[in-house]
Each structure stands twice: as C-alpha cells, then as structure tokens.
Symmetry: C2
Subunit: 328 residues, 2 copies
Amino acid sequence: MVAGLEKNSLIVVALGGNAFMRKGESFDAQWRNVRIAAETIASLVEQGYRVVVTHGNGPQVGIILEWVQRAGKESSRGITLDVADAMTQGWLGYMLQQAIGNALEERGLERRVVAVVSQSLVSKDDPAWREPTKPIGPFYSKEEAEKLAIEYGWVFKPDPRGGYRRVVPSPKPLSIVEARTVRMLVDNGYVVIAVGGGGIPVVRSNHWIQGVEAVVDKDYASAVLAREIDADVLAILTDVEGAYVDYGRPSQKLIKCMTPHKARELLEKGEFPKGSMGPKVEAGAMFVEHSKNGFSLIAMLERAREALEGLTGTRIMSDCEGQDILFF
Amino acid sequence: MVAGLEKNSLIVVALGGNAFMRKGESFDAQWRNVRIAAETIASLVEQGYRVVVTHGNGPQVGIILEWVQRAGKESSRGITLDVADAMTQGWLGYMLQQAIGNALEERGLERRVVAVVSQSLVSKDDPAWREPTKPIGPFYSKEEAEKLAIEYGWVFKPDPRGGYRRVVPSPKPLSIVEARTVRMLVDNGYVVIAVGGGGIPVVRSNHWIQGVEAVVDKDYASAVLAREIDADVLAILTDVEGAYVDYGRPSQKLIKCMTPHKARELLEKGEFPKGSMGPKVEAGAMFVEHSKNGFSLIAMLERAREALEGLTGTRIMSDCEGQDILFF
C-alpha cells in the first residue's frame, strides 16, 4: 500500500474498448477478454478497494454501424449515434456485470455489481462542433459517401487506409448526468459499471437533455466522473506498462511519476501519440488538477494490482517526491 | 385513491415493446412513443407513487437480428441472443431514462431515474427447453433455414405468413438476479428501469451464471420482480382498456375485477388470446397469488392514472367485494 492510498480507496478503472475485442476477434473471444478484466476488478474489490468501471466501445459501435450499413437503407430506419452508443452500454455492461458478479461470487463476495446507462453532458458551444475529426463506422466508396453526405448531412473524410469514413465531433464532457447515482451505488457497496463509450453525448436546453451525433473520449469522461464522485484514483488500464519518454526508441524510459504540469509540458512537446497515450495522459492530468488528493495511474490491465502498489505504471500526482518527473 | 392503495405505493409498470415501435415505424416515432410513456410515469411519480418500469423488446430485438442476417456471416461474428437482449436494454433503457428524466425535471422533480442491466434466472430443467416455441428475428427461405439449422443447431418452424423463422425456448423466470439492486434504488428515491425484454435469460451452475439462447416473457418476469421487491401493484399497461370476456363479440364485457382463481378458470377456458392477453392475465394472477396485499392491473397506457383510481382497467385481486368477478 502506498502513502495516501487507503484500503477502501475509491478507484475509477477505465478499460479500453479494445480490451474486449481486438481486430477480427469473435464474440467468444470477447467473453474471454471480459473475464480477464473481471478477475482484475474482483481482486481489487477483494483487497478492499471500492471500484467504478468505465469502458470504451470503439470496436462494438463499429460493428453496429457496419451491420446497419450492410443491411441497407430499408432496415436501418435512421438509427442515431446516441442509440448506437446506448446499445454498446447494454452489450458490454451486461458482459461486465455478469463476469464481475461471477468473479466476486467465486471469491465468496456478494454479487453487488450494476451497469447503469450513462449520459455525458457536452456544450453546444464546444469548438469541436465546427470541425468533426473522429472517424466512426465502416469505410465507404467516394460515391456512397457523397450520397450519404447529401441525404443525412454527414461529414466524410478520406481515410489513410483508402476509402471514406464518416467523421463526427468529439466535444469535451462537462459532467456525467448520472454521477450522483454512481456515487450512491458505490456508497451502498456496489461495483458500478458506468460511462460506457465515454457516455452517450447529450446537450441541455432548460429542463431537457437530448442526444447528439458525436462521440465523447472515454478517458476524458472517466476523468470527469472521477472528479464528480470524488474518487481517490483514476486508473487508466491499457496494454502497455505506462507512459514513456522517447517511446519506441532505444532511449525509451518508463515514467514512474510526473506532475500534471510536467505532463502538459510533455504533451505539448508531442511526447505522447495523439490517438493513444496522449488522451490518457491529458485525462490523467485533468483529474489531478481538479482533485484534492487524488492521483492518476496509467498501467497495464493485467498488472493493475502491482501498479496500485507502485511497482509498475505511470502515476500523475501533484507531488512526485519533490521532483516533477521520476523514472523506473 | 382506492382502498389499500397508499400515496407512496410501489408500482411495477410493465410496458409492451410495441408501445415504443409499431410495425414499420422509424426511430423518430420511437422517441414520440417513449415520451408518451414517460409522461405517464412522471405523472405517477408526481402523485407520490414509487415506480419501477419494465418493458418488452420484441420489435427492437427483431431489428438487431435482421441487421445481423442482412449483414451476412462475415460481420455477424456469432452474436448470441443474450447479447442482443442486452443491446435492447441499453437502447430502450437510454430512451426511457432520458425521457422520464426530462418529464420529471419539467415537473420540478429531481432527475432520479436509472436503467439497470437485468438478468432473469431460468432453470436448466424447464420443460420449455424440450420444445422451442417462440419465433424470433427475420424470415428465412427453406434453404437458408436448413443451412443455419446445421451450422448453428438452430430450430426453425414454418411461419403462417410464409417462410421460416427461428424458434427458441421461453422458460419461466424464477428470479431476477438484480431484484435487490432494484429495491435498493427504489428505497433511495429512484424511478428504476429494469427487466427489459423480460431480462436476459441466464442459468446458474454453482457460483456462475451464464446467458442462454432463449427469451423470457416480459409480463412473467415483471410479476417475479414485483414479488421479489414486494411491490403493491403490478400494472401491465397496453393498448386496450383491460381484459374482456367474449372479446371481439357483441356480448364483450370489460372485467373490472377478478380473483386469481377466476382468472385461471377463464384462462383454461381459452377466454384470453394466447399471444396477447393470456400471458398478461396469467402474470397478473401469479403476482397476486404470491403477494400479501398486492394486486394486478391491466390497463391502457394513456389511462394509467385513472386505472389506478379504479375508473378503468382490469384488476386481479384476492377479493373483489366478495365476488369472484365484477364487470364495468
């Protein structure tokens, strides 16, 4: 146990959508992958930690949009992105809820686990609306893309791998509509699965909220949730040991600890790749900047427990033993 | 307010899947329909009732299975029925959670509403496993059906409307895995959306539960949930005024109240059509037989409030003013 991390600390564990389904894998492989994640979660609960699980949904929403595309116009009936997101929250929420429940019961613990539908509030004035950048769904030919652009007002961009893909805005999450519900469930002893796919993006007009055609980054949304439920740790679990400087070069070094200030400096220098480690480091810094005593952790899924003990993984903390960066 | 029905009574409101999407309707129509249901729910909450909402998913699961069929083998990747069910729980859970939340806020009430992923425990020894009867998903040609029967072990039956449809077992729900969670949420002032599509059917082996290829009747599952959370009323809302004797004939009479014993007698006589009113009456009787003071109500969605006041709808109660049946 490290200094400042109590046995019953509240940890938001953010899992990547790729943690469940890697390229070309089947539904069966998904169950295997979900069970690996569930074992990790249950072992944290066994240690006494309180856990909230968030997850990505990239591969799953891709599959749904591919079904809809292949099925053709007649049977798509205008499905919107918020509903597709909601479908993946049911899909992965179910798998995680069942698998975590099983892993808890096998350890002699109560099956107190619940997946809740989650919405992420975004601003209508977010600059992201002016420039959609996030590719989603299947690849289209130029002709198809032009037709759909006219018919639905969708925006397309050529993909480096060939063909065209729809791009949508990725506005910053301001708040998780269900944050208070999540906190109440945690206080009642539940492992809570929330903010699937970054949450379903919604905007507010007076008393109304309403879904929008966008996607929310799951690491940012997890950071917002962690702040709103006053978590002690935001643990972003992935398939690498942590954040590196000089990643992929012989000189690469695994970061043990850095301050949010140092993290932002390295982000600006382009030290962390934009599509992968960048948002994780930024989300980690964001949480620490808005938290009283909390810290962020970027670590490998299978080594989450060791990472919580400080044996691996990258921490983002307001104080790294008086330094602004430490390496392993 | 009728005798025995307190202001803060706990009501399980069961909505049909058709309440949201009627044949051929678009996704947009769904929102309109969900908002109608949400207004009804919010008006019950405003009156002081505590409400749990359950819902069917027939049209929605049909759409998903149709996508998968049309998309072809390559992109279906072996989706199972439990996951398809889970997707509809996310889909309709989201729409209801958002719409009920909006309707509550418009009334100056707190947005305390949450959709939870729900699993229905069924028995491996249920006689339904020996004879699959429930048609699901799209229509297939004889050749396609024969191929899929060999490939996946699916069972097909010719449909009266032409072509073949897959049929699956519909075992009786024994228990809702998340019943205690639902009750805890109700006790914390939440409107809870649960048991979507009758719940995802699961079987148990020791500490493990696991999804199975089946469907659970949503009215039966709602009756089981109502019993397990000790509800006061099971309100099955639909598009007719209630249960009739001589339905569709000039002599038809709307039943005001009947005992569970009378209900079973009329069921055996075939008074209520098997695919529609039959399961509702049976579920209603089941709940009353297992409840101390609770009653069941079958009524029209738009007239739920009047029905709770006894002005319309069919009640199933252990005592109908000393009679075994009363008519309007």
